[in-house]
Subunit: 312 residues, 2 copies
């Protein structure tokens, strides 16, 4: 029986690594830089070296390790093949086979980073105790991960849970990063909230604390908490889009719970006050009891979920 | 090894039954009335009798039967519990256990009828060869069933794939049957298309063959094929709603294929000409290659899928 498992979360600038016991207790946690030069050719060898170094340091033999789970920023299909990770310089690659080869045949599982983080939140975070959940990451963009019966919903081409790009607005003049118009991400990400705020500040001549200094998702929700009327209007628009978007997702996959994470979620439970009205108004009645919770693992969700992939 | 499997599809007026070999060839097919009086208390006993009669007729012993799969019109959770089937008079009931008890412990699997039909289309219908599909039934209402890695996506409360009630229009004055406003079903069902048509006929003073006689989804698409300009406008509105709705669903579950069935689908591939423009315009680029096909099993999809549930 294996005693240990590694979880690896590859980001654009750093790779996070974690050593866990099979119950999910983190025993060690560290980072290495992501070397994206040369089409990212060094990334997997660096990870393999780092895993081997850690095993040597802790005197852990190969047979004591269940495997290495890896989350990466790109669509990863059910065979562990990543189809283009722009931030890493990678084209199509079999993550599972490549890293396994570099680790002398050790078991490797690979997944999309947002999906893997969702699994982490189910295992040890805000979604503990649930087997059907949708994790929503409100960061620079909007990411998502869907867990059905305890497993990641990968989708046909690894795009399962790409909820940042569901269409929620027909009348949008600015393009989303993906090229489409009116994606959820344009209203519910940190960047999106800032954009909504700047728009509203231009449209309105209402006084607001937001007129002093730089506007961000954080300053908007700080102002909401301080009772700023214009900030409340902005939060209402954000909540209208996100609430309606999540209601659609609920009708499609009928999760037990939404787990909301990412930088914007630092605003706390106040978010739910703005999301729930549109959610409750538009959701299918069979999904009306869907719960909402905040993510709790922060940037560690990825290494937890990556480790969990190996244990399933 | 079992040689046979039964598939049962419970409808509001008739129960369809099928006897299959385990490869999915239908050996016999018949119907019995659905007796909804007394809170539907006779429905399962009638089914059990009918299954037993057929086994006697064909001299099939219990050990030769893999089991009985049942599709029912209501949300069925992962434990085979149906939570209210209004059309049958049922409250909450364990479909799996109840019918198994009536069949001397024979294996029974239960699922929601739309989900089960989706499985049938995957097994022997328009979705053959695929393991990740969304079946869309455009009938009196809009139903849906989602298959992920060959299995029904049931959801937390059996509402997985209830895509008829995803919110697609903010400015709707007429309520959907579910009580909400702006559900997909209000625009993409047979009833919805008729409603769109009657609205457009009132708004416009354009000449149209639709001004003669009764308007229905069928007359609309017949007129589209005959080149009627007003009918084309109606089909465009239908396609705009359905295309956008399916694009959202694609971004969430990333299926390989949409399989379109139900009465409206009798219009044929012309439907795709109206669905694809909005789909292509709004879908996440990773899902742009999602295929579209027509369902092929018609009213038999339910018995096929019910049988398949038992074989998985």
């Amino acid at each position: 029986m294996a005693d240990y498992v590694f979880g690896v979360d590859i980001g654009g600038t750093t790779v996070k690594l974690g050593l866990f016991d099979v119950k999910g207790n983190v025993l060690d946690k560290w980072e290495i830089p992501t070397r994206t030069e040369n089409g990212g050719a060094d990334i997997l060898p660096d990870i393999a070296d780092s895993v081997r170094d850690k095993m040597r340091e802790k005197s852990i033999g190969k047979e004591a390790v269940a495997g290495v789970g890896v989350g990466a920023p790109g669509p990863v299909d059910g065979n562990g093949i990543i189809h283009k990770a722009v931030n890493l310089g990678w084209g199509e690659m079999n993550l599972r086979e490549e890293l396994s080869r570099l680790l002398d045949g050790m078991r490797v599982e690979g997944g999309n980073d947002a999906n893997v983080a969702a699994l982490g939140e189910m295992w040890k975070g805000g979604g503990q105790g649930y087997r059907n959940l949708v994790a929503v990451t409100l960061g620079t963009g909007v990411g998502g991960g869907i867990i059905i019966n305890g497993k990641i919903l990968t989708g046909a081409t690894g795009s399962g849970g790409e909820i940042g790009h569901i269409h929620v607005e027909d009348h949008e003049s600015e393009a989303c990063g993906c090229g489409n118009y009116g994606c959820l991400e344009e209203y519910a990400s940190a960047t999106g909230i800032t954009r909504l705020a700047n728009r509203r500040l231009r449209e309105s001549d209402k006084d607001s604390v937001l007129r002093q200094g730089e506007v961000s998702a954080k300053t908007v929700f700080d102002a909401v908490k301080a009772g700023d009327a214009l900030a409340v209007e902005i939060a209402e628009r954000f909540g209208e889009y996100l609430g309606k978007g999540l209601a659609v997702i609920a009708g499609v996959v009928n999760p037990e719970i939404f787990v909301i994470g990412g930088g914007v979620s630092k605003a706390g439970e106040v978010l739910f006050e703005y999301i729930r009205p549109a959610f409750d108004r538009t959701v299918f009645h069979g999904c009306r009891d869907t719960k909402f919770a905040l993510a709790t693992l922060g940037n560690d969700a990825g290494i937890y979920g990556a480790a969990k992939m190996v244990l399933d």
